[in-house]
Symmetry: C2
Subunit: 562 residues, 2 copies
Amino acid sequence: MDMPNLRWWGWGTLDQSYSLDGRPAFWPTLQQWLELPDESIEHEIPPVPLNDISLPPPRLDNASLAFLYKLLGKEAVRTDKQARVEHAYGKSYRDLVRIRAGYIPHPPDVVIYPADEEQIATLLAWAADHDIAVIPFGGGSSVLGGVEPEPGDRPALTLDLARLDRVLSIDPVSRTARIQAGATGPEVEAPLNARGFILGHFPQSFEFSSLGGWIATRSGGQNSIGYGKIEHMTLAVRVVTPVGIIETKDTPATAAGPSLLQTLLGSEGTYGVITEATMRIHPLPTVQDYRGILFRSLEDSIAAFRDLMQSPSLQPAIIRLSDAPETAAYAVMSHEHHGLRHLANRLIAGYLKMQGYDLTTGSTLMLLGFDGDAEWTAQQWNLALELCADHRGLSLGRMVGKSWVRERYAQPYLRDTLLGHGVMVDTLETATTWSNLIHLYEAMIKAMKEAIADTGGGPGYVMTHISHAYPQGASLYTTFLGRQVPDPDPLAKQAQWQAIKQATTEAILAAGGTLSHHHGIGRDHAPWLEKEIGAVGIEALHALKNTLDPAGIMNPGVLLAP
Amino acid sequence: MDMPNLRWWGWGTLDQSYSLDGRPAFWPTLQQWLELPDESIEHEIPPVPLNDISLPPPRLDNASLAFLYKLLGKEAVRTDKQARVEHAYGKSYRDLVRIRAGYIPHPPDVVIYPADEEQIATLLAWAADHDIAVIPFGGGSSVLGGVEPEPGDRPALTLDLARLDRVLSIDPVSRTARIQAGATGPEVEAPLNARGFILGHFPQSFEFSSLGGWIATRSGGQNSIGYGKIEHMTLAVRVVTPVGIIETKDTPATAAGPSLLQTLLGSEGTYGVITEATMRIHPLPTVQDYRGILFRSLEDSIAAFRDLMQSPSLQPAIIRLSDAPETAAYAVMSHEHHGLRHLANRLIAGYLKMQGYDLTTGSTLMLLGFDGDAEWTAQQWNLALELCADHRGLSLGRMVGKSWVRERYAQPYLRDTLLGHGVMVDTLETATTWSNLIHLYEAMIKAMKEAIADTGGGPGYVMTHISHAYPQGASLYTTFLGRQVPDPDPLAKQAQWQAIKQATTEAILAAGGTLSHHHGIGRDHAPWLEKEIGAVGIEALHALKNTLDPAGIMNPGVLLAP
């Protein structure tokens, strides 16, 4: 019923990993940047085996289990260790240091797999009567504690939507599709692609995250510039709340009062369970032409980026602009036979340097792509290259684009490797207007670097890309690396991470950035939500929560801090 | 403090009207279509003079008035008859039949003009303490009873935002502008245009409606295809509620939980007073190239419309497709020296007929326009003409476009003339997906025509345009005309209108249309809101209302039926 072969202690499936073959500079460079001790490089600490993990016993009595068996069938109710461990956490750095150490004090007591909406409605009524917390679970790739049971005595039931995985109908005239919430990225796209359509939502978690999870967290995919964030793609939703079903109308727009749709988008399972949605779809592009453009400075490249977003003639599918540190990381660490490193190795680096570019100190790499047919994408590229040239951007051609596409979902596997070698690695993201972007960028990075050093993380390495852009502004997506504190206690590693998260988040908010552009709130951001939306805004969300979930059973502690 | 010279009993200002000079076919055609008696044509019944209207005395005691004078200054507090009459109703047919007859049982007791947000916050606290209803008032052009005081004993205070009329700041880099809520269309656009920008919101009420009103009602302007509806244009809002201020962040997108912004959009003054907003703005186009395209049938023209909306290469600013009855009305009634009638008169009608078009029975007229620079609009037109030709669309050139632009805000004046001649005229609008559009169109018109006949309105005349479109669907905007019941009692005329409204609204909802695409809910649509959003949805809106306005003073009876 679950994805087979899941790597419960890390990312994805056990048969995949991020190979460092062909990347000879990887470890030496990383060691230098992070000042890693030799033994970190030499020794990999594996996760605690599943057999060695002990969980608290399930807190559901026999009557409760009997009820669940009767409602759902025995095979759809799991209390075994593997199911409970696989559903205990999301996939953040904080989650992985805990699970790798076998530290799971609050796993769900039971994991269920309902087959339809009626079972969900019955289940929620029963859970409300019995004060059992219900955690809707899609792909489980939350990086903010969005699927983690609360501490405390209340039993927790994880409601895995894996069986609601179908595209129910496609309307080719209106370009819409009704899709069940549990469908993962491939389960969404395959039936659409077969009919000549595409949804176009490609978060890095694409293979393992679900439509319902995307909607619940206001997710953004890598091609959000072309296809929109999930809140732009979603035409209507159906949500089973403990007090009944809300179904919004599939009208392309409406003036019928405040938007319930946009209230349910981002509700993170705290109001109810999203069961299906009607999505805007697009014709499947025949060409995806992605290329790398190199700029001499961040300023030049941001100006080009903004022009691309504000041009009435250009409709890019994707733009990702790496700052100098991220560009350097690509140049040094990517595979020697393709990508930016390959270009650098081909002695092109000398030529680039003569032209005022430097792949390792100062230049910035933009990935730019157009989705469409051959004629249209060619026209778009002609215009785009002209525009980039106005900002001294130099096309590196399609190899860089192809290399990125090949690895677009792979990096989280690398994180597992790094964690085993004593490296702390996490990402943060925010967004603001164009005029505030550099200010936010500098404030965020300064706070982050100071916090890494202050927490014993060494010099750290911080790299950022600008993506998910709009005519009015863009998001910043930052990866930070540092040395893990040597203390093997996962709570010590968590505390180190927490201090960095805290300092950076406060710097983001002080500099006018949003708390999250596309990851959501979960448990990790919940303490700051009031700073984002104000005390009255928090009261409004509590009012909705209390009305739709009067017993307070839906994903407690997520979104709204307890 | 108000707009001078306001036509309190009808539309706009007293120095403007819709001239029927040069339109010799107007009355004869209308008489034939509606089977109007001769005396309706010959005699115009004027509105009751202001002097003859008697209002109930203001229900505020001296202490209350003294408080208001102290808070706002004496000149910003009005209890005179003219102010109370001008703020008693919106501008719907129902409103005008009542005000023309001098029937105003529930005018506001006082009209105030706050100068800033602090005055508004103080005022709301005071009103909550004293159980005084507060009605935020922008331009007063609601057509759904959105600014009308409730019946009953509670005193009503109308809070006119006319003094909050400034563009506060423009960010040319991010293409945003902070604008006060009371700014009318011209007050919004003039400062933006002077800086080379445009907001692009042009409802028919443009001259007399305000930014705050647009946001409160989820308004859509005539150029919404190019610039979006107001909910797409609005980046952030500030709202003074009785429990405090909500300010949403000016981030271009966010994953920080449910969207408070989209909850305040469409709240119709029932949660608080919108005081300012940050809006997305665009470069001022140097060319607006609007032309008429004639199609042989509704089917052909809808197919062309859909293709225009779904083409990746085309970005129209405006598309309005008139069905055959509306096309015929333009052909017969427009001015003999320009517009469609002029074309028809130039013997071109014979040529068109030979080509399979007929301006008076069957053909449909599309107004299509592009905003941009000369080169871009020319390119867009080349593509668009090719696309329209694929659907047998024939360009009628720019004269039709120019004629439409000239009269784009004028038609409501004609309504005042018609009302004086015993004609009932009102508009309705809805929206749905492309695949459901014809079904909705037919169901709505059938119900409307039957209801006009059933209520003694004669054969009636019903005409519709499709506008405000999206890749997924479009809105339908229908104008209906009929004979007023001869009973001079305004409540009899209101009952006739109400029966038609009821039958048509129920047909719209049964056929899958939304309750309103861009007019809002007000009092008139409130009884149907539950059918649109469901019982749980209504509970959610009540929860927000009770939290943000615990005393229930904000625009009571609007949005949520009492």
